[in-house]
Each structure stands twice: as C-alpha cells, then as structure tokens.
C-alpha cells in the first residue's frame, strides 16, 4: 500500500531557518546554496529566487520542474508514506542547452496555460562552466534540481500531511465484469538530450516493461529532456501522472486498472518496431479490453503512437490516445507527422503552434539573451515594452500529453 501525504502552503519566503508553520514555507537560502554548490563543483553561478502565483514574474529557459518530497527511511519503493509539498515546486532554469527549454509566466495571459503559474516555485538559475559539454551541462542542472527538491522536502516535511490518499495494490479483487484497462506510458528516449530516467538510470535500456503504478507515483521517473516546453513531461508531471491518478480514482468502480506498460520512444524505425512488438507481447498476457496511450514530444514520436494504436487495434484492444497538435499558427495545416486510420479516438490537448502575445512581466528570472532562441520564439519575439510574442509551444506544460491540462482543440 502506497500513501501519498499532501501538504499545501499558502506562502513561500526566505528566512533564517527552514520551517513549515501555519502553511507558510520558509527557505533558508544560504543553507540551500551551500548544499547545492557543495555537491557539484561544476556550478559556477547559482541564483535562488521565489515565484508566487499572480506575481508579475516571467521565468525563462526552464529545464525541469520537480515536486519536493520526503520518504521515511526503510520503506520500499511503491509502499509506505510518501510526503509531498502539493503546491510547491523546484524550477531549474539557465542558459539554453538544447533550444527547447521553455517559459513560465506567473500572471497575465500566459499564466492560464501552465500548471506552474498556480504553484509556489523555488527557482534555481544555474550557470555552469563553459568547459562542460551540452550533455554534462544538462546532467548538472538535472541532478541539482532533483537534489534541491529532496533537500527541501526532507527539511520541512516532518509533520503529518494535510491530506492522505492511499493506493491499494492492484491485486485486490474487483468486480470481474469491469473492463480491464492498462496505461501505455511512452518515455522520450531518443538520446541527444532527449532522455528520461527510470530509477536514476537512462531509460533507453530496459524498456518496454510492465511496471506497478505505485512505483511511478513514488517518483520512479525523472526527466532529462530538452524537448519542446509545451509537451515535455517534466519530473513533476511524472510524479503526478494524471492518467495514473484518474485510473486509480475509477479503479474498482468503473474499470479494472491492471497496470502500466512503460515504453520508449526511440529514433530508428527498427527500434520503434521492436519496442511496439514487445509492448504487444507483454499486453497479450493481461487480457485487456482497453488502453490509454500518452505521448511525449511531437513529430518523430507521432510514429510510435500511431504504430501502437494500429497494433493494439489489430489485437482487438480499444485505444484512446492523447496528443497535441502542430496545425500551424493559422490552424489550417495537418496536425500530426504520422497518422493511421485506426486512430479514431484521440484526445487533443491543443495546437502548440498557436501564437500568443504575453504582457510584460516586472521581474524576469533566467537568461533574457537566450529568449529568442527558444523553440516557439522567433527573433522578433521580445517587444520593446517587454511583451512577448511566442507560440504556445514555448510554455512549460501547455499541451501536456499526459493530459494534465484542460486545454483542447477543435475545428471551427
């Protein structure tokens, strides 16, 4: 049995010591700085800031977002009490590594598109030695963010949570007439700065595999992706996978959630075919009636998604897939790079090419000089008054393909 204990804060501030009192979280900045610089000598610059909901703040070149957590010692993964700060995150940002970092606006029109405009964010702007390769740069920022989130969670999550939610093992018997449903969960594993991590190890090896959803809710997956901001599954999204939570919520009532097929999104066609065949093979033993299929990224991963839909449909398993669209700024182009006739049940989480004009924000965190190079921005993106013209693509989590947002798209 896994229990997630959630605690909410109503404010976030810096102070002389770590504390979480009366739902006000105090962060001891120097202690955090010493910890982060001490554990990784590759960091040359570290700016620690706070971004609260509604503030006139724009965070640039965001790499990852992580939910702070704490787990009592001695409990195995997927069991026991995992405590989290429900509406607090650690946001890492800094000089661009791979074009596809993104932005978070804490107020104005951009705020309605990102889940992180509603959370209290501890922002780490991390600069590294110029001698590092892009891969080392990415690793340094990724590991620093995770370390900070764990450090923060441990420092303050020592009292009972506001709310507990328990997830019983799937083996408990349910009504045998309920439809057997699995979740097929692809991770972007293309290499070249497009990687995901399972138990801290690059997920390019060892997938596909069946995995208990409890392990995933207990933080098994972390992100190392420089894929487009809008449909990058950040570590926070993996920690709070909305499909897993929704399937658990309806488990035993409307459906029988039989588990998760964790798979990969490789680059080569032969690897894609091999991965799909393996998923189908594992699924064959689960006697499924339906699957939910998510995605990470766009373009190349469209092919993985379509192949899976086709193969599952052929084996008589009903599929619903979640995808975003790239239909052009005018919405008139074809939305996907690959299609298949079997894909007759798609949940669209938005056209990422939509252009937005975001109002100026008073405070900017992160490197402004890199802004126009972000995927979704263009050379004229930043206007003289500080307003920002950008595609939805550039906003972290805007078209999340785990279905975290309420955005959709339709033909008009």
């Amino acid at each position: 049995m896994l229990t997630i204990g959630r605690t909410w804060v109503r404010d976030l501030k810096f102070g002389r010591e770590w504390s979480l009192r009366d739902h006000i979280l105090t962060i001891e900045k120097n202690g955090l700085r010493t910890f982060l610089l001490g554990r990784d000598s590759r960091i040359e610059k570290l700016v620690i800031s706070l971004a609260r909901p509604g503030e006139s703040v724009r965070i640039l070149c965001v790499k990852d977002v992580i939910q702070p957590w704490s787990k009592a010692k001695g409990k195995p993964a997927g069991a026991g009490l995992r405590q989290v700060l429900s509406n607090v995150t650690v946001v890492t940002c800094g000089k661009i590594v791979g074009f596809q970092e993104g932005i978070i606006d804490m107020s104005g029109a951009g705020a309605s598109y990102s889940p992180f405009a509603e959370t209290f964010n501890l922002v780490l702007e991390i600069g590294v030695s110029k001698k590092l390769t892009a891969q080392e740069h990415e690793e340094c920022v990724r590991e620093s963010g995770l370390a900070a989130a764990e450090f923060l969670g441990k420092a303050v999550l020592c009292q009972p949570p506001d709310k507990e939610e328990s997830f019983a093992p799937l083996a408990s018997p349910v009504d045998p007439l309920l439809p057997r449903i699995a979740y097929v969960y692809p991770l972007l594993t293309q290499g070249l700065l497009h990687d995901s991590y399972l138990w801290g190890k690059n997920a390019r090896n060892g997938l596909p595999q069946y995995i208990e959803p409890h392990l995933l809710l207990d933080g098994a997956i972390t992100s190392g992706n420089c894929v487009s901001a809008c449909d990058k599954n950040t570590t926070w999204h993996h920690q709070n996978n909305p499909i897993i939570l929704e399937l658990f919520r309806r488990h035993g009532r409307d459906l029988n959630f039989v588990g998760v097929l964790l798979t990969c999104e490789p680059v080569r066609l032969a690897q894609k075919e091999e991965a799909v065949a393996k998923v189908i093979e594992i699924a064959g033993n689960l006697h499924l009636q339906g699957i939910i299929l998510s995605k990470e990224g766009f373009g190349n991963p469209d092919a993985d998604q379509m192949m899976l839909i086709r193969k599952f449909t052929e084996m008589g398993v009903k599929t619903v897939a979640i995808s975003d669209e790239f239909a052009g700024a005018d919405g008139c182009s074809q939305s996907l790079a690959d299609t298949t006739v079997e894909a007759d049940a798609i949940v669209s989480v938005g056209n990422a090419n939509e252009r937005l004009l975001l109002p100026p924000q008073t405070v900017i965190f992160g490197p402004v000089s890199d802004l126009s190079r972000l995927a979704g921005a263009y050379p004229q993106s930043l206007h003289a008054d500080g307003s920002l013209e950008i595609e939805l693509q550039g906003i972290i989590g805007a078209t999340n393909e785990l279905g975290a947002q309420t955005l959709s798209c339709r033909e008009i």
């Binding site: 090419n353 995927a375 959709s408």
Partner: protein
Amino acid sequence: MTMKSPYRIIYCLNQFFGGLGGEDKADHPPCIFDGPKGPAILLQQRFPEVQVVKTVVFGDNYIAGKTDVAVAEVLALLRNSIDFSGADAPHLLLAGPAFLAGRYGIGCAAICKAVQEEFGLPAVTAMHPDNPAVAEYRKEVLIGVADKDVMGMEEGLDRMLALGKKLIHHLPLVPEEDNYILQGRRQNYFTQKSGAERAVEMLLRKIAGLPYRTEYVMPSFDRVPPAAPLSDLSRARIALVTSGGIVPRGNPDRIESASASRFGTYSIKDVAALSSEGYQSIHGGYDPTYANQDPNRVLPLDVIHELLTEKVFGSLHPYYYATVGNATSVARARDFGRDIGQRLVADGVQGVILTST
C-alpha cells in the same frame, strides 16, 4: 448599432430568386439593382435593422461556367456603384441561400470569397452541406447550414444574418451553436475536464460501444508520386536541399530553430566541404553536437564532391537551400518545397538530394 445606422447589406441572388426568369435566363451576365429583391425583401421584413442597399443578380450557368470572368464582372459592378470607404459603406454581403443548387452555390461562394478579399467586406452565404460548392469553398467562405430546398428559406436567411453579425462584430464562432459549415481551422479552447479525465471517459464509452467523439479526425495524407528516374545521371545537374538546419555560422537569415518561417539560399561555389568554423545547425529538437562538429553529416557536401570528381553526375548546383523541419507546419513546408522546386527547375537542375536531421 441603432436604428439610425442600420446594417447596410449587399445581397446576391441567381436569376430565379432575383426575378429575371427561370432556366431561360441562366446565361444572363451579372447585373445590379438598387434596393432589395426576392429573399432580400423578406430579410428586410423580418429584420427592421437591415437595409439592403443593392442586389446583384447573376445567371446560374453564366457564373458556374466562367466563374473567374463572372466574379470579375460582379466586382466591377460593385466598385462602380458603391463607395466602400465612405460614410455609407456597406457592412456585409449576403448571398443565397443556395440550398442544394450546385451552380447557384458556386456563384454565391465565389462572390463571397472575392468580395472579402477585394473589399475586405464580411460575406456570408448559406447552403445545404451536400451542395458541391461546400467542399471547394468552405475553408475560405463562411457558409451557414441551409435546408435542401426553399422550404428552409426563412431559417437560411436568419442564419446568414446571425453569422454576418458575428463577422461584423468580430465575435468568435461556436461550432456547436452557430450552425455553419466547419472551416478546417483548428482552434484552442479550454474545457471543463483535464485531458486525462477526457481520455478515460472516452475509453469507457468506446469499450461499452457507446457513441464518442474523437477530438482530432485523422487527415488523409498527401501522397507525392515520385518523379521519373534521371535518364543520364552523368550529365545531370544536382542540387542539395536540407530541412536539417545547416546554415552559415551566425545564421544570417535568422531562420527559427522551430516553426521556421523561411528558408535560406547559400552559395557553395568553390566550397569543397562544410567546415565546423563556417557552418552550424540551428535545428531544434535534436542535440546538434555531432552536426556542428561536422556539418557534412547533415548536408553531405564532402561526399558530393567526391562523386563529382568521380564523374558520377554532371554538375553541382552552386547554391544550397536550407530550412528547419522542427515543428514547421505541413502547409508551410509545402510552400517552401514549391518555391525551392520552381527555382531549381528554372536553374536547370534535374536532381535533388534532400536531407533531414
């Protein structure tokens, strides 16, 4: 808008509804009248805020047969009788309803399209969804849904005016409420439920055999028939084109790393191979480390020169064309392809090597 400044409308009808005659007048060229005629009179009766200032009447056959000529004549008639920038400029053009009448439908839709382009005037028609004009014009012209025949006249008139008012006042169209033919444009909107909730709900309905609606209908992809093979490679002029984002260092044309809005044309005259000092990748979506180390990995100029030395092909086009494929829409990529293709053909190129990332 008060009664003092009503909606000034130009109305378009075929020879039958415009009172010229039946099939015997179907070849009549367009003509223009002051005030309302036929259905336009009915519209004015139903809506006191409407003032039909002119009515254009055209023969069905005439406009369906030589649409370009007929539409140009309609535009000339309007230009000569209406001041589109004056204080009494019209607000809207309405045409039809054309019901299931194919020739009439083409006339209505073609005039709407031309008038909105030429004069910037909002224009609306209405017809049955099976009218052949729908497939051709629905993306460019706002078409209200009308019945099969004249029994649906009043409903069609009401619908056209309601849609016209939306255009005049720049109000958003709502697919479920506005009874018009969808225009193939994807638009974002916020729903009540998250994508995950919608997905689980859709799956349970699909499994139970209940009706559900996909949120994206798969498009049918273009298939491009390959060109015939080159008859003599040893004499052929070959060009290099890439969507892999290889540009001269510094990115002189500032091509975007995603959703490219342009392509670049770069001279490779006297360049035997691409150097990492001179060229770089600006393509998002992949780690450009290896492409930057050796840009020939994406745009193989070095190997091309080897083949040229071996006389495998005749000559190398002295320019290459480059853009970024990452998140670039299909429609835009098609435009780039057409443009580059025309230039290559004009320059006598017979074969192209296309590389991506």
